[in-house]
Symmetry: C2
Subunit: 130 residues, 2 copies
């Protein structure tokens, strides 16, 4: 199967699929005309990576997940550890974004937003402390 069809089936842009090949994540076969050729199994892996990336795993984590996926003797605890680590990342990110949100919202509410030059947002940004 050509890369275009593969792209459609995996949901990944062709550019991205080629990129994954250059970094050694997903290999491809070649046909006589030098076109890439993908099997169902390879498309399966591309979808696997696609989903993993959507869940916020880094490329390196995807590499590990793929290896675990292909290793029939792996321990499911290994996989869970990866997912649990991601979960704490996400929690930390949500916490810090929520903090940020509070600060910004306070600023927006303090700002009357008219044509006069005094603006509490700029004043806060310019504050000496921290």
């Amino acid at each position: 199967m050509n890369i275009g069809e593969t792209s459609r089936r995996s949901g990944l842009p062709a550019k991205t699929i080629r990129y994954y090949e250059t970094i050694g994540l997903i290999q491809s076969d070649r046909r006589d005309n030098n076109y890439r050729d993908y099997s169902d199994d390879q498309i399966h892996k591309l979808r696997f990576v696609h989903r993993s990336r959507d869940l916020g795993f880094t490329i390196e984590e995807c590499r590990q997940l793929l290896a675990l996926y292909e290793d029939k003797s792996r321990a499911s605890a290994d996989v869970r550890d990866l997912a649990t680590a991601r979960l704490s990342d996400i929690d930390a990110k949500i916490r810090s974004l929520t903090e940020l949100r509070k600060t910004l919202e306070k600023l927006v509410h303090a700002c009357h937003g008219n044509a006069r030059p005094d603006c509490p947002i700029l004043e806060e940004l310019a504050e000496e402390k921290s």
Copy 2:
């Protein structure tokens, strides 16, 4: 003031301060020995950018905020618009992270995490349906 002291006072790495200069965000004076020399006003601006970056504004937004900060005739509504746009960005990000969190948590809970090879997380990642 040398860049080292400026770095300490602004909380930004010296590398970053130099970087901001190359992209035309914050200028510096030069002394006879070609060392950068910063005034209190410039340190003020660096802190301003530091805080703005911490609040998640992009460099381009920082550039606009700095211009507004220096333009005594600006309308505070311009600033509020920038801040409000950031607020929706943050909300969208929090929403999508929360979705993500739900999915991952479900997977982690479904996984017994022992030494046996069956793992619902990998199975879910490998699912055919998108």
